[in-house]
Amino acid sequence: MALRAGIAGCIVLLVGCPSDGGDEPPTPTVVLPDISGIDFPAAMAQALELTFSADLRAAWTGHGASLELTRSGCPDFWVTDEDAEWRDHCTTFAGIAWNGEAAWSNALVVDGDPESALGVTTVGARSLDGAAQVDDGPELLFGFSGTGDDSLYVSEAPGYLQWRYASRVDARVRGTAAYPADGPTPGGMLLGLDLSYSGGATSELFARGDVHLPGGVLAGRFDSVSLDVTLDGPGAALPDECVTEPRGWISLRDTDAVWYDLILQPRFTDDATVDPYPNEPYSLCEGCGTLYVRGVESAQVCVDFASLFDGRLQPPDPGGYVLPIREQLGQ
Protein backbone atom coordinates (compact mmCIF):
# COMPACT_ATOMS: atom_id res chain seq x y z
CA MET A 1 0.00 0.00 0.00
CA ALA A 2 2.79 2.38 0.94
CA LEU A 3 4.56 1.55 -2.30
CA ARG A 4 1.45 2.30 -4.33
CA ALA A 5 0.98 5.54 -2.47
CA GLY A 6 4.58 6.46 -3.19
CA ILE A 7 4.24 5.73 -6.88
CA ALA A 8 1.03 7.74 -7.02
CA GLY A 9 2.88 10.57 -5.38
CA CYS A 10 5.60 10.37 -7.98
CA ILE A 11 3.04 10.55 -10.77
CA VAL A 12 1.43 13.55 -9.15
CA LEU A 13 4.80 15.23 -8.85
CA LEU A 14 5.60 14.57 -12.49
CA VAL A 15 2.29 15.87 -13.75
CA GLY A 16 2.47 18.81 -11.44
CA CYS A 17 5.73 20.18 -12.78
CA PRO A 18 5.38 23.62 -14.28
CA SER A 19 6.38 24.04 -17.89
CA ASP A 20 7.60 27.10 -19.74
CA GLY A 21 5.09 26.80 -22.49
CA GLY A 22 1.91 26.85 -20.49
CA ASP A 23 -0.06 24.25 -22.40
CA GLU A 24 2.99 22.30 -23.52
CA PRO A 25 3.24 18.76 -22.19
CA PRO A 26 5.52 18.29 -19.19
CA THR A 27 9.19 17.70 -19.89
CA PRO A 28 10.19 14.10 -19.32
CA THR A 29 12.27 13.82 -16.22
CA VAL A 30 14.88 11.19 -15.48
CA VAL A 31 16.35 10.31 -12.15
CA LEU A 32 20.04 9.63 -12.39
CA PRO A 33 22.04 7.63 -9.90
CA ASP A 34 25.01 9.13 -8.15
CA ILE A 35 28.08 8.01 -10.07
CA SER A 36 30.64 10.11 -8.24
CA GLY A 37 32.06 7.15 -6.32
CA ILE A 38 32.40 4.76 -9.24
CA ASP A 39 35.80 4.07 -10.76
CA PHE A 40 34.53 3.48 -14.28
CA PRO A 41 37.93 2.91 -15.93
CA ALA A 42 38.64 0.12 -13.45
CA ALA A 43 35.13 -1.29 -13.72
CA MET A 44 35.24 -1.32 -17.52
CA ALA A 45 38.66 -2.95 -17.56
CA GLN A 46 37.46 -5.57 -15.09
CA ALA A 47 34.37 -6.15 -17.20
CA LEU A 48 36.45 -6.72 -20.31
CA GLU A 49 38.76 -9.09 -18.51
CA LEU A 50 35.79 -11.02 -17.19
CA THR A 51 34.15 -11.11 -20.60
CA PHE A 52 37.20 -12.50 -22.35
CA SER A 53 37.36 -15.27 -19.77
CA ALA A 54 33.72 -16.19 -20.34
CA ASP A 55 34.32 -18.80 -23.00
CA LEU A 56 33.40 -22.45 -23.25
CA ARG A 57 36.40 -23.58 -21.24
CA ALA A 58 34.78 -23.31 -17.82
CA ALA A 59 31.79 -25.34 -18.96
CA TRP A 60 34.04 -27.89 -20.63
CA THR A 61 36.11 -28.22 -17.48
CA GLY A 62 33.00 -28.78 -15.38
CA HIS A 63 31.67 -31.25 -17.91
CA GLY A 64 34.95 -33.18 -17.98
CA ALA A 65 35.23 -33.21 -14.18
CA SER A 66 31.71 -34.56 -13.84
CA LEU A 67 32.41 -37.35 -16.33
CA GLU A 68 35.13 -38.63 -14.03
CA LEU A 69 32.41 -39.38 -11.48
CA THR A 70 30.28 -41.64 -13.64
CA ARG A 71 29.66 -45.25 -12.75
CA SER A 72 28.49 -48.07 -14.95
CA GLY A 73 24.84 -47.45 -15.75
CA CYS A 74 24.66 -44.06 -14.11
CA PRO A 75 24.20 -42.14 -16.18
CA ASP A 76 23.30 -43.92 -19.41
CA PHE A 77 25.48 -43.02 -22.39
CA TRP A 78 24.98 -43.00 -26.11
CA VAL A 79 28.32 -42.88 -27.89
CA THR A 80 29.16 -42.70 -31.60
CA ASP A 81 32.46 -42.15 -33.32
CA GLU A 82 31.73 -38.44 -33.56
CA ASP A 83 29.80 -37.46 -30.48
CA ALA A 84 28.36 -38.67 -27.20
CA GLU A 85 25.48 -38.00 -24.88
CA TRP A 86 24.39 -38.86 -21.38
CA ARG A 87 20.75 -38.80 -20.42
CA ASP A 88 19.41 -40.02 -17.10
CA HIS A 89 17.93 -39.33 -13.71
CA CYS A 90 20.01 -41.46 -11.40
CA THR A 91 22.28 -41.43 -8.36
CA THR A 92 25.48 -43.41 -8.01
CA PHE A 93 26.36 -45.32 -4.84
CA ALA A 94 28.82 -42.54 -4.11
CA GLY A 95 25.92 -40.09 -4.04
CA ILE A 96 26.50 -38.30 -7.34
CA ALA A 97 23.12 -37.40 -8.81
CA TRP A 98 22.70 -37.01 -12.57
CA ASN A 99 19.66 -35.28 -13.94
CA GLY A 100 18.92 -34.25 -17.50
CA GLU A 101 21.03 -34.69 -20.58
CA ALA A 102 24.20 -33.41 -22.17
CA ALA A 103 25.57 -34.05 -25.65
CA TRP A 104 29.06 -33.18 -26.70
CA SER A 105 31.68 -33.62 -29.40
CA ASN A 106 35.28 -32.74 -29.88
CA ALA A 107 37.75 -33.10 -32.73
CA LEU A 108 41.29 -32.11 -33.61
CA VAL A 109 42.87 -32.12 -37.06
CA VAL A 110 46.59 -31.48 -37.49
CA ASP A 111 47.72 -31.28 -41.09
CA GLY A 112 51.12 -30.51 -42.59
CA ASP A 113 54.75 -30.20 -41.58
CA PRO A 114 55.89 -27.26 -39.44
CA GLU A 115 59.26 -27.24 -41.22
CA SER A 116 57.76 -26.96 -44.71
CA ALA A 117 56.86 -23.76 -46.55
CA LEU A 118 53.20 -24.71 -46.35
CA GLY A 119 53.54 -25.28 -42.64
CA VAL A 120 51.12 -27.05 -40.38
CA THR A 121 47.59 -26.12 -39.43
CA THR A 122 45.85 -27.28 -36.30
CA VAL A 123 42.09 -27.06 -36.14
CA GLY A 124 40.21 -28.03 -32.99
CA ALA A 125 36.49 -27.87 -32.35
CA ARG A 126 34.31 -28.73 -29.36
CA SER A 127 30.62 -28.43 -28.66
CA LEU A 128 28.39 -28.96 -25.67
CA ASP A 129 24.58 -28.92 -25.61
CA GLY A 130 22.03 -29.88 -23.08
CA ALA A 131 20.13 -29.28 -19.89
CA ALA A 132 22.13 -31.11 -17.28
CA GLN A 133 22.73 -31.01 -13.57
CA VAL A 134 25.22 -33.05 -11.56
CA ASP A 135 25.07 -32.86 -7.76
CA ASP A 136 27.20 -34.28 -5.02
CA GLY A 137 24.70 -34.35 -2.20
CA PRO A 138 23.80 -30.73 -1.48
CA GLU A 139 26.64 -29.38 -3.62
CA LEU A 140 26.00 -28.48 -7.24
CA LEU A 141 29.00 -29.81 -9.14
CA PHE A 142 27.99 -28.87 -12.64
CA GLY A 143 24.98 -27.33 -14.28
CA PHE A 144 24.65 -26.50 -17.95
CA SER A 145 21.56 -25.36 -19.82
CA GLY A 146 22.00 -24.24 -23.40
CA THR A 147 24.52 -24.60 -26.18
CA GLY A 148 28.15 -23.77 -26.66
CA ASP A 149 31.08 -24.42 -28.93
CA ASP A 150 34.63 -23.27 -29.28
CA SER A 151 37.39 -23.64 -31.80
CA LEU A 152 41.13 -23.38 -31.95
CA TYR A 153 43.20 -22.60 -35.03
CA VAL A 154 46.98 -22.59 -35.11
CA SER A 155 49.02 -21.98 -38.25
CA GLU A 156 52.76 -22.54 -38.02
CA ALA A 157 55.57 -22.41 -40.55
CA PRO A 158 59.26 -21.60 -40.28
CA GLY A 159 59.45 -18.12 -38.77
CA TYR A 160 55.69 -17.78 -38.69
CA LEU A 161 52.93 -18.31 -36.13
CA GLN A 162 49.31 -17.26 -36.12
CA TRP A 163 46.58 -18.56 -33.85
CA ARG A 164 42.95 -17.77 -33.17
CA TYR A 165 40.50 -18.92 -30.53
CA ALA A 166 36.74 -18.45 -30.83
CA SER A 167 33.93 -19.33 -28.46
CA ARG A 168 30.16 -19.06 -28.63
CA VAL A 169 28.12 -19.83 -25.54
CA ASP A 170 24.40 -19.33 -25.07
CA ALA A 171 23.90 -21.05 -21.76
CA ARG A 172 23.62 -20.91 -18.01
CA VAL A 173 26.79 -22.43 -16.60
CA ARG A 174 27.28 -23.09 -12.90
CA GLY A 175 28.62 -25.49 -10.35
CA THR A 176 31.84 -25.78 -8.39
CA ALA A 177 33.44 -27.98 -11.04
CA ALA A 178 33.14 -25.11 -13.52
CA TYR A 179 33.44 -22.10 -11.22
CA PRO A 180 35.24 -22.67 -7.92
CA ALA A 181 33.43 -21.47 -4.84
CA ASP A 182 36.37 -19.22 -3.96
CA GLY A 183 36.65 -17.80 -7.49
CA PRO A 184 35.39 -14.45 -8.74
CA THR A 185 32.11 -15.89 -10.06
CA PRO A 186 30.99 -18.59 -7.63
CA GLY A 187 27.40 -18.37 -8.88
CA GLY A 188 28.45 -19.16 -12.42
CA MET A 189 27.49 -17.18 -15.47
CA LEU A 190 24.55 -16.66 -17.77
CA LEU A 191 26.04 -16.14 -21.20
CA GLY A 192 24.93 -15.12 -24.62
CA LEU A 193 28.36 -14.32 -25.88
CA ASP A 194 30.46 -14.66 -29.02
CA LEU A 195 34.11 -13.89 -28.63
CA SER A 196 37.37 -14.48 -30.39
CA TYR A 197 40.94 -13.41 -30.08
CA SER A 198 44.09 -14.03 -32.02
CA GLY A 199 47.80 -13.79 -31.57
CA GLY A 200 51.04 -14.32 -33.37
CA ALA A 201 51.72 -12.28 -36.50
CA THR A 202 48.75 -10.09 -35.74
CA SER A 203 46.34 -9.88 -32.84
CA GLU A 204 42.73 -8.87 -32.49
CA LEU A 205 40.00 -9.18 -29.90
CA PHE A 206 36.30 -9.35 -30.58
CA ALA A 207 33.34 -9.83 -28.26
CA ARG A 208 29.62 -9.39 -28.77
CA GLY A 209 26.84 -10.36 -26.41
CA ASP A 210 25.88 -10.46 -22.78
CA VAL A 211 27.37 -11.75 -19.54
CA HIS A 212 25.30 -11.96 -16.38
CA LEU A 213 26.69 -12.91 -12.99
CA PRO A 214 23.87 -14.43 -10.93
CA GLY A 215 24.57 -13.54 -7.35
CA GLY A 216 27.87 -12.00 -8.27
CA VAL A 217 29.05 -8.46 -8.32
CA LEU A 218 31.59 -6.82 -10.58
CA ALA A 219 33.59 -3.91 -9.23
CA GLY A 220 31.35 -3.89 -6.17
CA ARG A 221 28.28 -2.69 -8.04
CA PHE A 222 27.52 -4.35 -11.38
CA ASP A 223 26.00 -7.72 -12.18
CA SER A 224 25.87 -7.70 -15.99
CA VAL A 225 27.95 -6.75 -18.99
CA SER A 226 26.68 -6.18 -22.50
CA LEU A 227 29.04 -5.27 -25.28
CA ASP A 228 29.96 -5.23 -28.93
CA VAL A 229 33.61 -4.38 -29.13
CA THR A 230 36.65 -4.93 -31.32
CA LEU A 231 40.25 -4.16 -30.48
CA ASP A 232 43.18 -4.39 -32.83
CA GLY A 233 46.37 -5.28 -31.06
CA PRO A 234 50.05 -5.26 -31.91
CA GLY A 235 50.66 -6.03 -35.57
CA ALA A 236 47.54 -4.26 -36.77
CA ALA A 237 47.75 -1.85 -39.67
CA LEU A 238 46.91 1.23 -37.68
CA PRO A 239 48.74 4.34 -36.60
CA ASP A 240 50.74 3.51 -33.49
CA GLU A 241 48.49 5.56 -31.25
CA CYS A 242 45.46 3.66 -32.52
CA VAL A 243 46.69 0.18 -31.68
CA THR A 244 44.58 -1.20 -28.83
CA GLU A 245 42.03 1.52 -29.54
CA PRO A 246 38.65 -0.11 -28.99
CA ARG A 247 35.70 0.24 -31.29
CA GLY A 248 32.12 -0.41 -30.29
CA TRP A 249 30.46 -0.10 -26.90
CA ILE A 250 30.54 -1.62 -23.43
CA SER A 251 27.63 -1.45 -21.01
CA LEU A 252 27.45 -2.32 -17.34
CA ARG A 253 24.28 -2.90 -15.37
CA ASP A 254 24.18 -2.25 -11.67
CA THR A 255 22.15 -4.25 -9.21
CA ASP A 256 19.39 -1.62 -9.42
CA ALA A 257 19.10 -2.44 -13.14
CA VAL A 258 20.53 0.87 -14.28
CA TRP A 259 22.68 0.62 -17.41
CA TYR A 260 25.90 2.57 -17.88
CA ASP A 261 26.88 2.69 -21.56
CA LEU A 262 30.39 3.53 -22.65
CA ILE A 263 30.35 4.46 -26.32
CA LEU A 264 33.71 4.15 -28.02
CA GLN A 265 34.60 4.63 -31.66
CA PRO A 266 32.05 3.41 -34.16
CA ARG A 267 32.80 -0.11 -35.32
CA PHE A 268 31.67 -0.22 -38.89
CA THR A 269 33.10 2.88 -40.45
CA ASP A 270 36.33 3.64 -42.15
CA ASP A 271 38.17 4.89 -39.15
CA ALA A 272 40.85 2.27 -39.54
CA THR A 273 41.60 3.18 -43.12
CA VAL A 274 41.98 6.94 -43.03
CA ASP A 275 44.60 8.85 -41.15
CA PRO A 276 43.73 11.40 -40.04
CA TYR A 277 40.15 10.29 -39.69
CA PRO A 278 38.18 13.50 -40.21
CA ASN A 279 35.68 12.91 -37.50
CA GLU A 280 36.97 14.18 -34.21
CA PRO A 281 36.35 13.63 -31.38
CA TYR A 282 35.25 10.14 -32.36
CA SER A 283 38.47 9.48 -34.23
CA LEU A 284 40.86 10.29 -31.43
CA CYS A 285 42.85 7.23 -30.50
CA GLU A 286 43.11 7.78 -26.80
CA GLY A 287 41.11 4.85 -25.44
CA CYS A 288 38.34 7.14 -24.27
CA GLY A 289 34.64 7.03 -24.77
CA THR A 290 31.53 8.81 -23.68
CA LEU A 291 29.60 7.40 -20.76
CA TYR A 292 25.83 7.57 -20.93
CA VAL A 293 23.71 6.88 -17.86
CA ARG A 294 20.12 6.14 -18.72
CA GLY A 295 20.79 7.74 -22.07
CA VAL A 296 22.14 10.95 -20.56
CA GLU A 297 25.68 11.93 -21.51
CA SER A 298 27.48 11.90 -18.20
CA ALA A 299 31.27 11.70 -18.46
CA GLN A 300 34.32 10.90 -20.52
CA VAL A 301 35.86 7.59 -19.48
CA CYS A 302 39.31 6.47 -20.56
CA VAL A 303 40.20 2.81 -20.21
CA ASP A 304 43.56 1.11 -20.55
CA PHE A 305 42.88 -1.77 -22.89
CA ALA A 306 46.51 -2.59 -23.56
CA SER A 307 46.62 -5.05 -20.67
CA LEU A 308 44.44 -7.41 -22.70
CA PHE A 309 47.40 -7.87 -25.03
CA ASP A 310 49.97 -8.56 -22.33
CA GLY A 311 49.76 -12.29 -22.91
CA ARG A 312 47.03 -13.14 -20.43
CA LEU A 313 44.74 -14.32 -23.22
CA GLN A 314 46.06 -17.61 -24.46
CA PRO A 315 44.47 -20.33 -26.57
CA PRO A 316 43.55 -23.61 -24.92
CA ASP A 317 45.80 -26.62 -25.09
CA PRO A 318 45.09 -28.53 -28.33
CA GLY A 319 45.10 -31.68 -26.18
CA GLY A 320 41.74 -30.63 -24.83
CA TYR A 321 40.27 -31.22 -28.27
CA VAL A 322 41.75 -34.63 -28.93
CA LEU A 323 40.68 -36.80 -26.02
CA PRO A 324 38.55 -39.63 -27.40
CA ILE A 325 35.13 -39.87 -25.84
CA ARG A 326 35.73 -43.40 -24.57
CA GLU A 327 38.80 -42.19 -22.72
CA GLN A 328 36.81 -39.33 -21.26
CA LEU A 329 34.43 -41.92 -19.87
CA GLY A 330 37.29 -44.03 -18.56
CA GLN A 331 36.11 -46.99 -20.61
Binding site: C10, T121, V123, A201, F268, T273, Y282
Partner: protein, 209 residues
Amino acid sequence: MRLAAVLIVGLLGAGCSDLTFRRTPPPPVAEPPTQGDDGTGNPPNWADCETAWLGQYYNLRADDVGVELPDDEELPALDELPYWDGTPSFQQLDTSLDFGAAWWPVDSGFVADPSYFAVRWTAWIRALDDTSLEIALGARDDVWVLIDGDVVASVVGAQEFAPELVSVPLDGGQYSIEVRYSHRTGDEDGMLFRVAGGEVVLCEPDFGE
Protein backbone atom coordinates in the same frame (compact mmCIF):
# COMPACT_ATOMS: atom_id res chain seq x y z
CA MET B 1 8.34 1.28 0.40
CA ARG B 2 12.04 1.98 0.11
CA LEU B 3 11.70 2.21 -3.66
CA ALA B 4 8.87 4.69 -3.36
CA ALA B 5 10.84 6.78 -0.92
CA VAL B 6 13.83 6.83 -3.22
CA LEU B 7 11.69 7.88 -6.15
CA ILE B 8 10.04 10.67 -4.19
CA VAL B 9 13.31 11.93 -2.78
CA GLY B 10 14.87 11.74 -6.22
CA LEU B 11 12.10 13.71 -7.81
CA LEU B 12 12.06 16.30 -5.07
CA GLY B 13 15.82 16.52 -5.32
CA ALA B 14 15.52 17.10 -9.02
CA GLY B 15 13.16 19.91 -8.18
CA CYS B 16 11.26 19.39 -11.41
CA SER B 17 14.33 20.63 -13.25
CA ASP B 18 14.65 20.62 -17.01
CA LEU B 19 16.99 17.64 -17.01
CA THR B 20 16.01 15.88 -20.21
CA PHE B 21 17.26 13.20 -22.52
CA ARG B 22 19.78 14.65 -24.89
CA ARG B 23 20.48 12.86 -28.10
CA THR B 24 24.03 13.17 -29.27
CA PRO B 25 24.00 13.71 -33.01
CA PRO B 26 25.45 10.71 -34.78
CA PRO B 27 28.97 11.18 -36.07
CA PRO B 28 29.16 12.12 -39.72
CA VAL B 29 30.23 9.25 -41.88
CA ALA B 30 33.79 9.51 -43.05
CA GLU B 31 34.53 9.50 -46.73
CA PRO B 32 35.45 5.96 -47.65
CA PRO B 33 38.89 5.73 -49.15
CA THR B 34 37.65 3.71 -52.05
CA GLN B 35 34.86 5.96 -53.22
CA GLY B 36 34.81 6.07 -56.98
CA ASP B 37 37.07 3.09 -57.56
CA ASP B 38 37.12 -0.64 -56.94
CA GLY B 39 39.34 -0.64 -53.89
CA THR B 40 42.54 -1.15 -55.84
CA GLY B 41 43.87 2.32 -55.17
CA ASN B 42 47.30 3.35 -56.37
CA PRO B 43 50.66 1.62 -56.02
CA PRO B 44 52.17 2.44 -52.65
CA ASN B 45 55.43 4.15 -51.93
CA TRP B 46 57.46 0.97 -51.68
CA ALA B 47 60.07 2.64 -49.53
CA ASP B 48 57.54 3.41 -46.84
CA CYS B 49 54.44 1.24 -46.79
CA GLU B 50 52.76 -1.26 -44.52
CA THR B 51 51.99 -4.89 -45.21
CA ALA B 52 48.22 -4.86 -45.17
CA TRP B 53 45.13 -5.44 -47.23
CA LEU B 54 42.01 -3.39 -47.60
CA GLY B 55 39.31 -5.89 -46.67
CA GLN B 56 35.75 -5.25 -47.84
CA TYR B 57 33.27 -7.55 -46.10
CA TYR B 58 29.88 -8.38 -47.60
CA ASN B 59 27.00 -10.24 -46.09
CA LEU B 60 25.22 -12.83 -48.23
CA ARG B 61 21.60 -13.80 -48.03
CA ALA B 62 20.38 -17.36 -47.90
CA ASP B 63 18.74 -16.92 -51.31
CA ASP B 64 21.74 -15.37 -53.06
CA VAL B 65 23.14 -17.02 -56.16
CA GLY B 66 25.29 -20.01 -55.28
CA VAL B 67 24.36 -20.14 -51.61
CA GLU B 68 23.66 -23.75 -50.58
CA LEU B 69 23.97 -24.69 -54.22
CA PRO B 70 22.49 -28.13 -55.02
CA ASP B 71 25.05 -30.75 -56.03
CA ASP B 72 23.78 -30.89 -59.59
CA GLU B 73 24.21 -27.16 -60.17
CA GLU B 74 27.41 -25.37 -61.05
CA LEU B 75 28.66 -22.21 -59.46
CA PRO B 76 28.61 -19.29 -61.92
CA ALA B 77 31.95 -17.95 -63.10
CA LEU B 78 33.73 -15.50 -60.83
CA ASP B 79 32.90 -12.48 -62.97
CA GLU B 80 29.21 -13.43 -62.83
CA LEU B 81 29.04 -13.72 -59.06
CA PRO B 82 27.45 -10.61 -57.54
CA TYR B 83 28.85 -11.06 -54.06
CA TRP B 84 31.25 -8.14 -54.19
CA ASP B 85 28.93 -5.61 -55.82
CA GLY B 86 27.34 -2.82 -53.90
CA THR B 87 28.24 -1.43 -50.54
CA PRO B 88 30.14 -3.67 -48.14
CA SER B 89 28.89 -4.33 -44.64
CA PHE B 90 32.15 -2.87 -43.43
CA GLN B 91 35.76 -2.50 -44.47
CA GLN B 92 38.98 -2.57 -42.56
CA LEU B 93 42.68 -3.06 -42.98
CA ASP B 94 43.84 -6.63 -42.40
CA THR B 95 47.50 -7.37 -41.89
CA SER B 96 47.00 -11.13 -42.16
CA LEU B 97 44.66 -13.29 -44.22
CA ASP B 98 45.28 -16.32 -42.04
CA PHE B 99 41.92 -16.67 -40.32
CA GLY B 100 41.61 -20.43 -40.22
CA ALA B 101 38.38 -22.21 -39.39
CA ALA B 102 35.37 -21.04 -37.37
CA TRP B 103 35.82 -17.47 -38.56
CA TRP B 104 32.56 -15.55 -38.77
CA PRO B 105 33.25 -11.84 -39.27
CA VAL B 106 29.94 -10.63 -40.69
CA ASP B 107 26.66 -10.69 -38.82
CA SER B 108 24.03 -8.12 -39.65
CA GLY B 109 20.99 -10.11 -38.71
CA PHE B 110 20.14 -11.80 -41.99
CA VAL B 111 18.54 -15.22 -41.91
CA ALA B 112 21.24 -17.81 -41.18
CA ASP B 113 23.76 -15.16 -40.20
CA PRO B 114 26.67 -15.36 -39.73
CA SER B 115 26.92 -18.32 -42.08
CA TYR B 116 27.12 -16.75 -45.52
CA PHE B 117 29.50 -13.95 -46.41
CA ALA B 118 32.09 -12.82 -48.90
CA VAL B 119 35.23 -10.71 -48.70
CA ARG B 120 37.43 -8.91 -51.17
CA TRP B 121 40.94 -7.95 -50.15
CA THR B 122 43.06 -5.64 -52.25
CA ALA B 123 46.73 -4.77 -52.03
CA TRP B 124 49.80 -4.31 -54.21
CA ILE B 125 52.65 -6.72 -54.68
CA ARG B 126 56.12 -6.00 -55.99
CA ALA B 127 58.45 -8.65 -57.35
CA LEU B 128 62.00 -7.48 -56.96
CA ASP B 129 63.05 -9.73 -59.85
CA ASP B 130 61.59 -12.60 -61.82
CA THR B 131 60.44 -14.94 -59.08
CA SER B 132 58.09 -17.71 -58.11
CA LEU B 133 55.47 -16.50 -55.70
CA GLU B 134 54.65 -19.30 -53.26
CA ILE B 135 51.24 -19.05 -51.63
CA ALA B 136 49.80 -21.14 -48.83
CA LEU B 137 46.18 -21.15 -49.90
CA GLY B 138 43.09 -22.79 -48.48
CA ALA B 139 39.41 -22.04 -48.12
CA ARG B 140 36.04 -23.40 -47.50
CA ASP B 141 34.20 -22.76 -49.75
CA ASP B 142 35.97 -20.57 -52.31
CA VAL B 143 38.99 -18.34 -52.75
CA TRP B 144 40.35 -16.71 -55.88
CA VAL B 145 43.69 -14.91 -56.20
CA LEU B 146 43.88 -12.31 -58.94
CA ILE B 147 47.00 -10.50 -60.05
CA ASP B 148 46.41 -7.52 -62.32
CA GLY B 149 42.86 -8.78 -62.71
CA ASP B 150 43.74 -12.30 -63.83
CA VAL B 151 42.95 -15.34 -61.71
CA VAL B 152 46.26 -17.04 -60.92
CA ALA B 153 45.08 -19.47 -58.23
CA SER B 154 41.79 -20.61 -56.82
CA VAL B 155 40.00 -23.09 -54.61
CA VAL B 156 36.33 -23.43 -55.52
CA GLY B 157 33.68 -25.50 -53.80
CA ALA B 158 36.00 -27.09 -51.24
CA GLN B 159 34.15 -29.23 -48.73
CA GLU B 160 36.96 -29.08 -46.21
CA PHE B 161 39.57 -26.56 -45.21
CA ALA B 162 42.78 -28.12 -46.52
CA PRO B 163 45.50 -25.57 -47.34
CA GLU B 164 47.93 -26.30 -50.15
CA LEU B 165 51.00 -24.64 -51.60
CA VAL B 166 50.52 -22.84 -54.91
CA SER B 167 53.29 -21.45 -57.13
CA VAL B 168 52.73 -18.42 -59.32
CA PRO B 169 55.53 -17.22 -61.65
CA LEU B 170 55.95 -13.46 -61.49
CA ASP B 171 58.08 -11.20 -63.66
CA GLY B 172 59.82 -8.37 -61.86
CA GLY B 173 57.51 -5.39 -61.38
CA GLN B 174 54.53 -4.21 -59.41
CA TYR B 175 51.02 -5.57 -59.64
CA SER B 176 47.66 -5.10 -58.05
CA ILE B 177 46.68 -8.22 -56.14
CA GLU B 178 43.21 -9.17 -55.08
CA VAL B 179 41.87 -12.07 -53.04
CA ARG B 180 38.18 -12.90 -53.13
CA TYR B 181 36.59 -15.24 -50.66
CA SER B 182 33.10 -16.61 -50.25
CA HIS B 183 31.46 -18.93 -47.76
CA ARG B 184 28.29 -20.31 -49.27
CA THR B 185 27.55 -23.66 -47.67
CA GLY B 186 27.26 -25.30 -44.30
CA ASP B 187 28.38 -24.23 -40.88
CA GLU B 188 32.10 -24.80 -41.30
CA ASP B 189 34.39 -22.33 -42.96
CA GLY B 190 38.07 -21.57 -43.36
CA MET B 191 40.41 -19.10 -45.00
CA LEU B 192 44.17 -18.96 -45.41
CA PHE B 193 46.28 -16.87 -47.77
CA ARG B 194 49.91 -16.48 -46.80
CA VAL B 195 52.94 -15.58 -48.85
CA ALA B 196 55.20 -18.55 -48.19
CA GLY B 197 58.01 -17.78 -50.60
CA GLY B 198 59.28 -15.59 -53.43
CA GLU B 199 61.17 -12.33 -53.59
CA VAL B 200 58.16 -10.12 -53.16
CA VAL B 201 56.92 -7.23 -51.05
CA LEU B 202 53.23 -6.76 -50.34
CA CYS B 203 51.73 -3.43 -49.24
CA GLU B 204 48.40 -1.80 -48.71
CA PRO B 205 46.98 0.34 -51.54
CA ASP B 206 47.61 4.06 -51.55
CA PHE B 207 44.36 5.99 -51.51
CA GLY B 208 45.96 9.41 -51.35
CA GLU B 209 45.38 12.11 -53.90
